[in-house]
């Protein structure tokens, strides 16, 4: 077990290092920098721009900048964001918890709902609950997330005014509110983006979990459990599910990067000020240190989560994930 954790951690660190280097190299080919003429008034003399570039180190050769950047990264410094007039670390430390909150809540709700749907489908295999839920989860995968987001926003937000359509908190002096009101306000703003992401997660989890459950239900130990006189729900929850959930957890780990990617669009649509929105703004402002940090952090988060799900899958179902 310890060996698994250590090898997975080393592996994760190596992957992050390679991704960081390749993103840095790729950005060297990108046109312009934060001081390009196209981004602000054309009346600023070239000399001033050159001075700015020199001050932020943009005039150094790429190899020197890479060494400086990697060295700073090793010390935990991510650089300076010229478009936000803040250190990248400050921008990121605001944004990352918000994305973690959104993706985390969506993951937990989506995973629980997906497993529940799959158990219900397996219980009523080939009867109408299975077919109806099957059609719904197929739809949940086939309808793009950004459209689900728009539909939820239009109906739940604009038409029925149940939820706010954008932002992370109400306007005004919310810091003076009592704590529970602040939390309630956050949850109220979180509801729509989290529900949309959770629907996407639940549909995918349910489809895989249903297939895994039906595969396990054919096996001998299930027949034994039924022969003992166990009820069908007990057979499903206590015997079939623990043996069928491991691969689904591992698969969720593999799907996490695409979930983070989906969160980018959801954040943009709902104006949720997390990493996705930060990345969009940084790209438009040609703020490459921030872009670099955003892509790198998303990768680190995805790798971390995947390592974690690998370990969890191993803990839940040791015999199913061990390679021969």
């Amino acid at each position: 077990m310890t060996r698994l954790v250590v090898t997975r951690a080393l592996h994760a660190a190596a992957v992050c290092a390679v991704v960081a280097t390749s993103v840095f190299v790729l950005l060297q080919f990108a046109p312009g920098d934060p001081f390009a003429t196209s981004l602000d008034g054309a009346d600023i003399p070239p000399g001033v721009r050159a001075e700015w570039r020199a001050r932020y180190g943009f005039d150094r050769p790429p190899t020197e900048r890479f060494v400086r950047w990697a060295g700073a990264l090793a010390r935990g410094e991510l650089g300076y964001s010229a478009s936000r007039h803040q250190t990248v670390a400050a921008v990121v430390s605001d944004a990352v918890p918000r994305t973690l909150l959104l993706v985390g809540v969506a993951l937990v709700i989506g995973f629980a709902a997906g497993v529940g749907i799959a158990v219900l489908q397996a219980r009523h295999h080939r009867r109408w609950p299975d077919r109806v839920l099957g059609a719904l989860t197929l739809g949940g995968v086939a309808v793009p997330e950004f459209l689900l987001a728009l539909l939820a926003m239009t109906w739940l937000g604009v038409r029925w005014r149940l939820f706010p359509v954008a932002g992370i908190g109400s306007l005004g002096d919310t810091a003076a509110w009592p704590l529970w009101e602040q939390v309630a306000d956050l949850v109220w703003h979180l509801a729509l983006p989290a529900i949309v992401l959770a629907i996407a997660v639940a549909s995918r989890v349910a489809r895989h979990q249903r297939a895994a459950l039906l595969g396990v239900l054919d096996e001998d130990f299930i027949r034994t459990a039924r022969a003992k006189g166990l009820g069908e729900w007990d057979v499903l929850w206590r015997h079939a599910l623990p043996n069928a959930i491991g691969p689904v957890i591992a698969l969720l780990g593999l799907a996490l990067p695409s979930l983070v990617g989906g969160a980018v669009l959801i954040e943009r649509i709902f104006g949720w000020p997390g990493m996705g929105l930060t990345l969009f703004d940084a790209l438009l402002a040609r703020d490459y240190p921030l872009v670099l940090a955003a892509v790198l952090l998303a990768t680190v988060l995805a790798v971390l989560a995947r390592t974690l799900t690998d370990v969890i899958a191993e803990l839940v179902a040791p015999r199913r994930t061990r390679e021969p």
């Binding site: 992957v15 991704v19 790729l26 990108a30 046109p31 983070v260 980018v264 790209l283 892509v295």
Partner: protein, 281 residues
Amino acid sequence: MATNTWRRLMHDRPARIAAAVLGTAALVAFFAPWLARYDPTLQPDPVTLRLLAPSWQHWFGTDPFSRDVLSRVLHGARVSLGVAAGAMLLAVTLGAALGALAAVFGGWVDAAVGALVDVLIAMPRLLVVIALVATFGALSPWWLIALIGGSGWLATARIVRAEFRDHLQRDYVLAARALGASRWRIVWQHLLPAVAPQIAVAAALALAAVIPLEAALSFVGLGIQPPLPSWGNILLDGTDYLTTAWWLVVFPLGAVTLTVGSALVLADRLRAAIAGEEHRR
């Protein structure tokens, strides 16, 4: 044995319906210029013909620029499905080739492909594609195909590698080798046909992943650029009119959902056919 899998699939009703939907979509995409009654980019009268509800003249209504939505969805199928099919073919070919190389050669080739997969799988695909497009400027459809296809081969490579390694240990491969068949003859004549159903599953899943990806990119304005219609940018045009002009969103949304759903059903049924075949063996 793979032949039996295909036969099983052809007798499966959901699979036949899904294949028919995808086939129709492909035909519609191909014949779009002959099927569409209007020029998809023509704006005949942005004042009196704007945002008309569906009617006999305009089956899917008109958009804010007075363009015929049906014609745009038909031409959009050409662009969206063309990009999707191209990217899917590229991804599956690349994945099958790399997966096969890794399995057949093993050793450092296997390790190198494995490391490449590990790195690429960790990078959020949509995020990286958005970052690339936003930094380097809008891309032509050909670049989109290269970018989406070039980042989508991982699943196929994993599947093909695992299947090849499994089949390489079976008796028929040993028999072929004993008869003096070369490595490449075994790969082409025996392994690829045997693994074809699994590659088809990967292809269907790749298609189901690529259509929404193109739509999402065009939707944020980074994919297919107007006035060239794609399902993604037709949806983008409709977002401001969600509550007032439903036809701008419902028809392209239906097109995306139908094609993606069909690809998913096809993948499901193929998997079931493969499992049934393995079960019977």
